[in-house]
Structure formats: structure tokens, C-alpha cells
């Protein structure tokens, strides 16, 4: 059992002991990559007994969603306690017990907009890793214009009939449920008439197709809805709409802001990719004698270090009350920097870098994948629009 003492050092000692007791040594491997992430869900196959045990032990304590209220399956930690927990996970090289779009996105949306009954039903399924969710926002052809929702839910009295398609739904082919923006009023103005709907991926008429990127296979899918029946009130007595009918855009906007606030971590990942010095050690000696490569490497290193400091500074600011729309800068600068970094790495590796099967491993697909960084989650152009209009308050006309 965990000691939820408010005294920080006592809490830290307790959490350390608890992690060491439940997260097997075999999991605590700093080299574990993408493959070791536990996503949960009905169709999940644990990579090991240790992975299953760790997730279940954490779920039993609410520690898969440490800051959610206990009644919804969380642990009710304070921000300071959560920070200590994350620090100890990192220090012990322990993986987070569960990752999911349910934890990152649907949960916060339900906590902010859901009914008590919806929260009681859906949130514990998420924290226990029973249901895996995916996100259905973007539509083919809509691009950055998320409010341009064409997928429609027709009102058939006691149920909706959903028809349309979504794109860029990560892991839709492995998810159990989807939270999606659908148009419930076709006559309302663009940002009105959208609802935030929960749909069972096992319902008749739901199909998915994986998307292949220029960098190779990807977690992205297209998801198709062909006359999918969604009850207005389901067998648990819950509405399948989160928030008010036709006010789904409010929920989506809330989540988009939440997402950008979280981007600090993501951008840190972008920066953490590869240390240039370490990378260079594995390259042909003398390659950096070229002033073109050398100048670019120097400039990139300067900008990377300054950007890392900015993530730290904005992290501190966020703790003191949030950074608001200025967080769009982190997305913009971090993704553009990451593209520059991989362009440089490709230049440094020369002819080795251009082979899928070369000695540089996954460098080429990683490089190509960076090109999506400045598109997904809001393009660089959208970020600059946000900064110029909302932060700099430049006029619209």
C-alpha cells in the first residue's frame, strides 16, 4: 500500500519502495523503446507478465491516473506529489504503467464536461486499462480546419446514425472506442452544430484502414462510419454525447489547449532525439571539417540548447499559472528545430543516410517523419497565426 503522506520526503520514500516492489527489474531498462509501452485495451497483449503485473498494481492504487479523483479510478495526488512520482519513475528507469488517449485526452474532457454518471462509467475503464480509446477529429480534406466537420449524425429519435470518415486517427485499428466530433445540426454555422460523441468501434459499420506515410508504416488510420447506430442513451443510462448537444466545439477547443500545454514534454522529446556530439562519434572522422556542415551544426547546437532552456522556463511558468497561447511557440520552434536537426544528420551521414537498410538504422524514416512534426497537432502556420493574433494581438483587418 502506498503512503500518501503530504510530507514530501516521506511520500518520496514510500513511492520509491512501491515502484520497486511492483515494477519488476526487467521492466526498468532505460533502453526500452516504443515496443515496451503498455497501451491496454480489450485486445491488448502484454509483452510480459511483468508488464501486466505492473499495470494492474498501479491501477489498483489509482496510479495509472495519479491526479484523477479516487472515485473515478485515480489516486488524487497533488501536483507536487505527482511531480515526485514522475521523478522517481524516471530515476528508477521505470516505465509509466499505462499510456493511452483515454488518459491524455478523453479523461480530461470528461472531467471537465462529462456528467457524474459518465465519469463513473468511463473513467475507471480507462484507469484499469480495460478500454483503449482513439481520437476522431480530423477529416479527409479538412486539414488544419478542424471545425470543418462533415461526418454527420442524423437524429433518428432514440439513436443517431453516423456517416462519414475521420483521418489521422492514431491506432484506430487497435482501439475499442473512439471519441469523435460529429455534425449533429447541419444548418447551424460551422462552429456550432458539432457534438463530441463516444462510439463503440465494434459497432456495425465502423471500419479502419492504416495510412502509409512517406517514412513507412505509421500508427495513423482512416476510420469510416457507414450508417453506424449510436444510441442516445445507452444500456448504462448514459448519453453518448459529452457536454451539450451541438457544443462539441467547446470540448474540442478545451482539449486542443490542454494538448498544447502538454507539448513541453513532447518538444523535450523532439530535442532529446540524438545528442549531436554522440552522433558524430559514430561518423567518419573529419566529416565536420566542412565549414558548411560545421557552421550548421554549431548554430543548431546553440539553438537546441536555448530551446531546451525555453522548455524549462516555460515549464516553470506553467507551474506558476500557465503560459496560455504562448505555448504555440514551443510547438512551432520545437518542430522546426527538429526538422533542421534531422536535415543536418542526413547531411552528415551522406550516402549512408539515404539507405533504408544502411548502417544509420532508422535515420532516413526518422528524418522523413520529422516533416510531419510541423503539420500534426496544428501546423506551424496555425501556430504563427495563434501567436500573432492572440499573443501579439496583431489586428485582423
Amino acid at each position: 500500500m502506498l503512503d500518501f503522506s503530504e510530507e514530501p520526503e516521506r511520500f518520496r520514500a514510500g513511492i520509491t519502495a512501491w515502484i520497486e516492489a511492483h515494477c519488476a527489474a526487467e521492466l526498468r531498462n532505460p533502453a526500452s523503446g516504443e515496443a515496451e509501452i503498455c497501451w491496454g485495451g480489450k485486445r491488448w497483449t502484454f509483452s510480459s507478465d511483468a508488464q501486466r503485473d505492473w499495470m494492474q498494481a498501479a491501477a489498483a492504487e489509482g496510479m495509472t491516473a495519479p491526479r484523477w479523483p479516487v472515485e473515478y479510478g485515480g489516486a488524487g495526488l497533488t501536483r507536487a506529489q505527482d511531480k515526485i512520482y514522475r521523478e522517481e519513475l524516471a530515476r528508477l528507469n521505470a516505465p509509466t504503467p499505462l499510456e493511452s488517449f483515454g488518459l491524455w485526452m478523453l479523461g480530461p474532457a470528461l472531467l471537465a464536461f462529462g456528467t457524474h454518471a459518465q465519469k463513473l462509467h468511463y473513467l475507471p475503464q480507462i484507469t484499469r486499462g480495460e478500454i483503449r480509446w482513439c481520437q476522431g477529429y480530423s477529416e479527409p480534406g479538412a486539414g488544419s480546419d478542424l471545425a470543418s466537420v462533415q461526418t454527420r449524425a442524423e437524429d433518428k429519435g432514440d439513436h443517431w446514425v453516423v456517416t462519414g470518415s475521420k483521418i489521422w486517427t492514431s491506432y484506430a485499428d487497435r482501439a475499442d472506442w473512439i471519441f469523435a466530433l460529429v455534425r449533429t445540426d447541419r444548418d447551424a454555422p460551422k462552429h456550432k452544430g458539432i457534438s463530441f460523441m463516444l462510439i463503440d468501434m465494434e459497432a456495425a459499420g465502423v471500419t479502419t484502414r492504416p495510412i502509409r506515410l512517406i517514412s513507412g508504416a505509421s500508427p495513423f488510420c482512416e476510420t469510416f462510419f457507414d450508417g453506424v447506430i449510436v444510441p442516445k442513451v445507452d444500456e448504462n443510462g448514459n448519453s453518448r454525447i459529452v457536454g451539450e448537444l451541438n457544443r462539441g466545439w467547446d470540448v474540442a477547443k478545451h482539449l486542443l489547449t490542454h494538448e498544447r500545454e502538454m507539448i513541453g514534454g513532447g518538444a523535450r522529446g523532439l530535442l532529446g532525439g540524438r545528442s549531436l556530439g554522440a552522433f558524430l562519434e559514430s561518423q567518419e572522422p573529419g566529416i565536420m571539417a566542412d565549414p558548411i556542415l560545421r557552421a550548421e551544426a554549431m548554430t543548431l547546437e546553440i539553438d537546441s540548447l536555448a530551446t531546451a532552456m525555453t522548455l524549462e522556463r516555460y515549464g516553470d511558468m506553467a507551474k506558476q499559472g500557465g503560459v496560455g497561447d504562448a505555448s504555440a511557440m514551443l510547438k512551432y520552434a520545437g518542430t522546426e528545430l527538429n526538422k533542421r536537426r534531422y536535415e543536418l544528420l542526413m547531411s552528415i551521414t551522406g550516402s549512408d543516410g539515404v539507405a533504408w537498410d544502411g548502417p544509420q538504422g532508422a535515420l532516413a524514416p526518422d528524418w522523413l517523419r520529422t516533416k510531419a512534426n510541423s503539420i500534426e497537432g496544428g501546423t506551424s502556420e496555425v501556430m504563427l497565426d495563434i501567436l500573432s493574433k492572440r499573443v501579439l494581438q496583431l489586428p485582423t483587418q
Binding site: 488544419s144 502509409r212 506515410l213 567518419e284 566542412d290 551521414t349 543516410g353 539515404v354 522523413l368 503539420i375
Partner: protein
């Protein structure tokens, strides 16, 4: 310079004919089909190109060539670049033909006829550096025994013959002591390993183990390969720059069309001024690069011994411009530009390979600085 930098009526006709032919015979979908079929190019396409005189574009008429010159060769490369047409054109019709022509070699007529394809095997490290050649050709009886390896040999797995740069004296780093061999690709002791490069074309590693060669296999003089190779590399670099200019124009054309048709936030995205200015900047860059490439062709035709500066300006500009064109191309297309179903990725991948082949930006920048006295 006596020629103007704008195309002659003949060159305009050649460009139009090439464009028409390639639009039908080799749209970007042909590259996709090659990739699916696991072949670096369509032999039928190359046969057709040879019949039109493209294989012999730099071969004298007396050897059966069309002898149209480097400007024309560049125009053909540019048109191929615009649709990403894959063929042994650069390796065979430009590089090998220039080398063999410099040596007045009998096999030139085979090139013009499309009966032979060549690959140039120069580099051994990850960067272009002919002088760094370490692959040894040891004198042995009347001939030589070649041992060593070559990397990033364009068309190396599919070519019927190989031009192999070997060291017959001196040490890696010396421009002297190099000898160019013309070897059949199936010779004993020679192993070719195709690499899966991102542009879905043929780039191979060669391993030579005690490969026998005779004096007749030497192109030009022993220990003096650079006299033959330098013009061939200049010609190849200029034509590759032409291909990359075409590639840039092809990517830009797709992007400009998309800007005119795509609607977001209730507006055609091409009406957003930030995108307009970036598109206009990119167009300007392409225009300026086009001038450098026209000039490189002119200098190669008129005063080839002074071509290094003009060629390096062209290749460096082409590399930078193509990088910008494909980056902006993907970004302005948004998510669709990232999907493999869409063609932009092919442009981006070929641009990266073209950036490295025959000298990267830094290699050519250093040549420019040397020529300009700093």
C-alpha cells in the same frame, strides 16, 4: 561566352518533345510502379530514350550519336527530373559518354545505340571524394588485379559495365596515381550489392576481390584518371543539377496548383499572404538556379576546361533549391503531403539522394571558394 542564356529554338523544340514524351511514357506513377516491381527503371523506357537519340546526346555523330551538347543534355535531365523519370541516362549518356569521349573510346557507339549501360564507381566513403580512392589496382603480369570496395555506385547493380576508379600509385588523397578501368559487370571477383535507397533507384556497393584487368580495360592513361574523369564528373554534376532543377519545378508545380485549389477556413489557401510570399520566394530561387544551370551547360559546351566554377555553382544551388522546394511542398500540402499515396514524398527522397551524389553542397561550395580565391 557567345551563347545566350536563353534556349535556342532547337532547344525549345527538344524540351517540348521531351516533355511530351515523358508525360506519357514516364509520369511519376511510373516510379511508383518501378518501386512496386522492385526494379530501378523500365528497360523499355530506356530503349525508347536511346531511339530518340538521348543515349547518344553527348556522343559524336560519327560514333552514331546525336551530339547535342551539354546544354541539351541538361535540358533532358531537367525534364526527367520534373517527372522523376528513372533511367541510366546520367550514368551512361552523360558521365560515361563524356569519359569515353575524352579517351576517344570505341565503346561510345554502344552507348549511343543503347546497347550498354554504365555505372561510375568512384566513392568509398560517405562523401564524394575521388582523390580519396584507396581501392588498389596492383600491376600483375601484363595487367592488374583490383581489390577494394566502392560505395553509393549509382546504377551499379543494373549496369552492364562499370567504370571503376582505382589507385595504381600514390596514397589516398593524391589526385595523381589514379586509373580508370572499364570492366564488364560480371567479371570474376566482383560482387555487387544493391542498396535499398530512399529514391527507389539503383545504388550499389561493389566489392572487388582480386579482379583481373588488362591494359585494354584502362580508359585514358594509367596514373592519370583525372584527365578523363574530371570532365565526366563536371558533366554529370551539371546534368544532375539540371535534374534537381526539374525536380524543384515539378514539386513547385504541384504545390502551386494545390495552393490554387485547396480551401481551408473558407478560403483558397493560396490567398493567404504568408504562403504567397513563401511561394514567390521559392519561385525566385528556382529562377535563379535555372540561370546557374543554363550557364553551366553553356560553359561546358564552350570552354569545358574552365567549367568547375560554373558547374559547382549550379550543383550547389540546385541542392539548396530542391531542398527548399520539397520542404515547402510537403509543408504546404499538410497531412496529405506526408502520405505515401501522394507523390510529394518521391520528390523529397530523390532530392536528398541528389544532394549527396557527385558532391554535396559543402563539396561544391569549397570548389567555388577556391575558384574565387578565398
Amino acid at each position: 561566352m557567345t551563347q545566350s542564356l536563353i534556349p535556342t529554338p532547337d532547344e525549345v523544340m527538344l524540351r517540348d518533345a521531351a516533355r511530351g514524351f515523358l508525360a506519357d511514357a514516364s509520369p511519376v506513377s511510373a516510379l511508383r510502379a518501378n518501386r512496386a516491381a522492385g526494379r530501378p527503371y523500365d528497360p523499355g523506357l530506356w530503349r525508347d530514350m536511346a531511339q530518340m537519340g538521348w543515349a547518344g546526346v553527348l556522343v559524336p555523330e560519327e560514333a552514331g550519336g546525336s551530339d547535342m551538347g551539354h546544354r541539351a543534355a541538361g535540358i533532358l535531365a531537367e525534364e526527367m527530373g520534373e517527372v522523376l523519370a528513372a533511367s541510366p541516362y546520367l550514368s551512361t549518356a552523360v558521365i560515361a559518354a563524356t569519359a569515353l569521349r575524352a579517351a576517344a573510346h570505341a565503346r561510345l557507339s554502344d552507348i549511343a545505340g543503347g546497347d550498354v549501360t554504365y555505372a561510375l564507381a568512384v566513392d568509398e566513403g560517405t562523401k564524394h571524394a575521388p582523390e580519396a580512392t584507396a581501392l588498389r589496382a596492383e600491376a600483375s603480369g601484363n595487367g592488374f588485379r583490383l581489390t577494394g570496395q566502392k560505395r553509393f555506385v549509382a546504377d551499379g547493380a543494373s549496369a552492364t559495365r562499370l567504370l571503376v576508379l582505382a589507385r595504381t600509385s600514390g596514397n589516398p588523397g593524391d589526385a595523381q596515381g589514379l586509373t580508370l578501368f572499364d570492366l564488364g559487370a560480371e567479371r570474376d571477383g566482383l560482387t555487387r550489392t544493391a542498396r535499398a535507397t530512399i529514391d527507389s533507384r539503383d545504388h550499389a556497393h561493389l566489392d572487388l576481390h582480386d579482379v583481373a584487368a588488362t591494359g585494354a580495360d584502362v580508359v585514358g592513361e594509367v596514373d592519370d584518371a583525372m584527365t578523363i574523369l574530371r570532365p565526366a564528373l563536371n558533366a554529370g554534376q551539371a546534368a544532375l543539377a539540371g535534374e534537381m532543377l526539374g525536380l524543384s519545378a515539378g514539386a513547385f508545380g504541384m504545390t502551386a496548383a494545390y495552393l490554387k485549389e485547396r480551401k481551408q477556413f473558407g478560403r483558397t489557401i493560396g490567398s493567404f499572404q504568408a504562403l504567397q510570399h513563401r511561394a514567390a520566394h521559392l519561385w525566385s530561387e528556382i529562377e535563379i538556379t535555372a540561370s546557374a544551370i543554363a550557364n553551366a551547360g553553356r560553359v561546358l559546351d564552350e570552354t569545358p576546361s574552365e567549367a568547375a566554377l560554373a558547374v559547382s555553382v549550379a550543383k550547389a544551388r540546385a541542392t539548396a533549391t530542391a531542398k527548399l522546394a520539397v520542404s515547402e511542398g510537403v509543408q504546404m500540402h499538410g497531412g496529405i503531403g506526408m502520405t505515401d499515396d501522394f507523390d510529394m514524398g518521391f520528390f523529397m527522397k530523390r532530392a536528398r539522394v541528389g544532394a549527396e551524389w557527385l558532391g554535396d553542397y559543402g563539396y561544391h561550395a569549397a570548389r567555388v571558394a577556391a575558384a574565387r580565391g578565398f
